[in-house]
Each structure stands twice: as C-alpha cells, then as structure tokens.
C-alpha cells in the first residue's frame, strides 16, 4: 500500500471513531485538576462589581475548541456579579467575543452598559496593551456600537488597567504572552487565561513564575469547569470522543513502530 493510501485509511479511521463516539450518549466522569480549581477559586474570590477585562485573543478557527470554556468562564463571572469589559485584539475574535458575552449576559439578565460593555477590536496587541495601560479612552473613544465611553455608566472612573481587577485572556496562541510581557510586566495588572489545550505547556512556566495568576485549558478544562459549575455542556460531551481518539493515536504510534521494527529486523 502506498503512503497516500495508508494516510486515507488513517483519516477514515479517525472520522469514524469520532462520529461514532459522539453518537453514544454516555458521559464520562472527569476529575477536576488543581489548575482548573485554582481558576475557579480565583474568579470566585474577586469582589463583586470589580471590573474584569475579557480579551478575546483568538481566531474564528479555535472557536470550536474554546467556546465551551469561554462560556464557562463568562457564566461564572456573571454569576458572581462581576462587571465585564470585552475587548478583542484578534479581529476575528470580535464578533465571536460579542456573541459570547451577549449570550451569557442574557442568561443572567445583565444589562449592557451597566454590567457589561463591549469595546470591540483594536489591532496591534502589544501597542494596544501599552495604550490601555495609559488610557482606555486613548485606545477606544467609543464602544463597539459607537457610543462614547463617557456616556457608559459602567466605565465611570475607569480609564486604565490600574482600575481593572484582572484581565482574562481567552487565547489560542501567544497573545496571552503579550498580556504578560506588557500588561503584567509593565502595568502590573493580574492576568488569567482560558486557553486551548495546546497552549497549556507554553504557559506553564508563566503560571509557576506568577506572571499568570490562573489558567484553564482546552475542552478537558471546560469539562472540569462545567462540573464545578454543575452544568452539563459540550465539554463533558466531547470527552468520550476525545479519549477514544487518544487511544486511536496510541494505537497508530504502536502500529507504526511495529511495522518499522519488523522491517528493520527483516533487513538484518
């Protein structure tokens, strides 16, 4: 069999496994990791009415993975009575961020301009963060809908990162690093992050060095968070498919090696 044909069979196998496991209505029980617990406790301990800046630092493409997690974090924050200021430094995250924040605010009956506000997109993340440290109005004269910031009740007396309790960066790439390198290092605002699973290792050192105050990652993190919030959601639903795929990948690694080692022995 040629390499290309083997590839197609591998692809087909993966598709079949994921589709089948998603159709099985079984939920697996996840254990909550200390990371997720730390994030939960962090948000839980913020005083009510403090302002959280939510930065949607991800692209449309990561939405399938990160959506369950964003929903969890936003729901938790709204349920705690925190005020949310949404921003986005990834143009594609703009609408997504608005939809997320709008949806969860509605669930909790929060009012635009009083409990949450959406400022929209600005390019050049690092430039923008430095500017936010100086003056929010310097970066955003108006919110997403063109209302001047001065006529938004929630933002009275708030004009720089110094008045922000914490920045929640929902990210699929290195953007949280910029928040730490510029926002935290320079303006000392705490940073917490909801990230894709692949970013977890990258951000680990920052977590242990304290540049990142808390972090939760991936669909698994969402499943754990859903459990802490006592809600059933897409995170928990995806876990069986996730685990089955991991087993499939392990099987592929083993088969690959089996073929390789046998071929090598054949040569000897």
């Amino acid at each position: 069999m040629t390499d290309l044909r083997i590839r197609r069979w591998i692809f087909l196998g993966l598709a079949v496994i994921v589709v089948l496991t998603m159709l099985v209505p079984v939920t697996t029980k996840v254990t909550v990791s200390p990371y997720t617990q730390r994030m939960y406790d962090y948000i839980d301990s913020l005083p009510a009415h403090s302002v959280v800046m939510v930065s949607f630092d991800h692209d449309a493409s990561s939405q399938p993975e990160i959506r369950p997690l964003s929903l969890c974090l936003l729901r938790h924050a709204f349920s705690r009575g925190l005020k949310m200021a949404g921003v986005s430094f990834q143009s594609e995250g703009t609408v997504i961020g608005y939809r997320m924040i709008e949806q969860t605010a509605k669930e909790f009956g929060r009012e635009y301009g009083v409990d949450y506000v959406y400022l929209g997109f600005r390019p050049q993340l690092q430039a923008a963060i430095l500017q936010l440290g100086e003056s929010i109005r310097g970066l955003y004269a108006q919110d997403y809908f063109g209302t001047p910031l001065d006529s938004i009740p929630m933002l009275v007396g708030i004009d720089s990162l110094a008045q922000i309790a914490v920045v929640l960066s929902i990210a699929d790439a290195n953007n949280t690093t910029h928040w730490m390198e510029y926002g935290k290092a320079r303006f000392n605002v705490p940073i917490i992050a909801g990230v894709t699973a692949s970013m977890v290792t990258s951000y680990d050192p920052y977590l242990s060095s304290g540049q990142l105050s808390a972090m939760v990652g991936g669909l698994r993190g969402a499943a754990e968070y859903e459990r802490l919030l006592n809600r059933h959601g897409a995170g928990q639903r995806g876990m069986l498919a996730q685990s089955a795929t991991h087993l499939y990948l392990i099987a592929l690694i083993l088969t690959g090696n089996f073929i390789f080692l046998r071929a090598r022995r054949g040569k000897k």
């Binding site: 692209d59 449309a60 720089s160 110094a162 790439a173 320079r186």
Partner: protein, 268 residues
C-alpha cells in the same frame, strides 16, 4: 507597584531597575564581544539544518521543481525571529538565483512581503542574475491564519515544491503545512521560536532549527565576524546565566538546610 502604571515626572521607574541593569550588562557584553577581534574569529559548531540548505535548493533544481519559503503566520516584521528568518532567506534566494530555481514566498503580512521582495531582489542582483527575480512569486496571501494555511496548502499541492523552508514564527498552521509538504515528497527544513510548534516540526520535518539555532543562523550563513562574535556573546551570557543559577541554588539550599531567613536576590 500601581504607581508605575501612571505617567509621572520621574525619568526612571525604580521597579524596572533590575531590567535596566540587566539590559546594560547584556548590551555591554554583546557590544564588547562584537568589537573584540579574538572573539570574532570564534569557531562555531555545526548546525544540521543549515548545512542542508544548499542540498535542498540543489535537489529542487535537479527535479525542476520550485522551492517554497514561508515565515509562518505568527510574526510581524518587528519580531527578531522574522529578521533571523530574512537572513536565511537571503541565502536561499542567492542559491536559487544561481541555480535558476523558482523561489515561492507566500506570507500573511504585507510589511513582511515588501521586505522579503527587497531582500530577494537584492540577493538575485548580488548573485548576478537580476533578470531571474520575479516579484509575483513573493506574495501576500491572506492575513487570516487559516486563510494563509489554506492558500499555502494550495500552492504546495499544485506547484509541488521539492524543498520547503518553514522558518519564522509559526502557530497552529505548522503541521498543516508540514504534513501537506510531506504528501508532495518535499524535503522540509523548519525552524521557529514558537516552542509548541517545534514539537510538530521535529516529528514531521527533515531538519528543525530549535529556537536559538534560528537566531544563530545569520552568524553561520553570513560569516560576518561581528555577527559570529555576537553569537559567541550569546554563549558567554549563557555561562553567566548558568553560574547565577548554580550560585543561587547553592545559596537557597544552604539557607534551607541551616534554616536561615535570607534575601531571595534571584527573585526579580
């Protein structure tokens, strides 16, 4: 610390003093090393990926197929990584000028595109073949991450480059490009400062420049004594860092064993 977020009339923020001292020391070491004649003649060890560049371009020429070079989606021109990638581009461009091999350079950033066009044009001119330069082959494809990935994938599967250089700041698109490159049987030389993507490149590519190796590349390729010396300066700094780490660890361990409260001078 909050004070540091507010502009005031002080010229120096005392909280940033360690960084300032550090920067001055680093700059001094690099500067002195660059000027020092004996350091300029330092010998550098081999880096596999760099040695393979010439073969890769030669292979493409023999197979009458193009060479593809792309700097990834994550960087902008200000990033040192992009500058480092440009150094290797110069080498690849002058080789493809000499061998009369088509060089394709798709990018996600128009500023990078303009710089790359200059770099390649200059390399072709320096090699004595200005007429072989085609500006159209160095193009902006799309700023969106997966728009870029889809476009480069399309180019790879239709033009079937014999050698692919993935050098720069990569994010999730890394494996999409590397695996597609693999299906057309290309030799792939990758290098990035994005730590997660390194894992994928290691698995999927023939040669991978790991982090700092990418930056050191210009010392190797240009042979410019000042640049060689600055690579040597990096090594000197590494020794300094190692000595500090060991000294601090001994300090901390001794303090712990003797149970003494001590200044944690290594915490910045």
């Amino acid at each position: 610390m909050i004070a540091s977020t507010i502009a005031d009339s002080r010229w120096l923020d005392m909280a940033k003093l360690p960084e300032l001292v550090g920067s001055v020391v680093v700059i001094a070491i690099v500067f002195l090393a660059t000027m020092n004649r004996s350091i300029q003649s330092a010998k550098l060890r081999k880096i596999n990926g760099l040695e393979a560049i010439e073969d890769a371009v030669g292979r493409a020429t023999e197979m009458a197929r193009p060479v593809l070079f792309t700097p990834g989606w994550g960087g902008d021109i200000q990033r040192p990584t992009t500058i480092a990638s440009m150094n290797i581009l110069t080498k690849v461009a002058s080789l493809s000028a000499q061998y009369d091999c088509t060089l394709l350079y798709p990018t996600h950033d128009p500023v990078i595109m303009t710089v790359a066009q200059e770099v390649v044009r200059e390399a072709y001119t320096d090699s004595g073949y200005p007429d072989r330069y085609r500006a159209d082959n160095i193009n902006y494809v799309s700023s969106s991450q997966f728009g870029y990935a889809a476009a480069v994938d399309g180019i790879i599967s239709r033009q079937k480059p014999a050698s692919i250089f993935l050098l720069g700041t990569f994010e999730a698109e890394s494996l999409i490009l590397a695996e597609t490159g693999n299906t057309v049987g290309a030799i792939q030389i990758a290098g990035t400062d994005s730590t997660i993507q390194l894992a994928f490149f290691i698995v999927a590519c023939d040669y991978t420049l790991i982090g700092e190796e990418l930056f050191a590349a210009s010392g190797y390729l240009s042979g410019n004594p000042s640049i060689v010396a600055s690579v040597k300066a990096q090594d000197i700094l590494k020794v300094v860092i190692a000595v500090i780490l060991v000294a601090a660890t001994i300090w901390a361990t001794t303090a712990r064993i003797l149970d003494i409260e001590t200044v944690q001078w290594w915490k910045f």
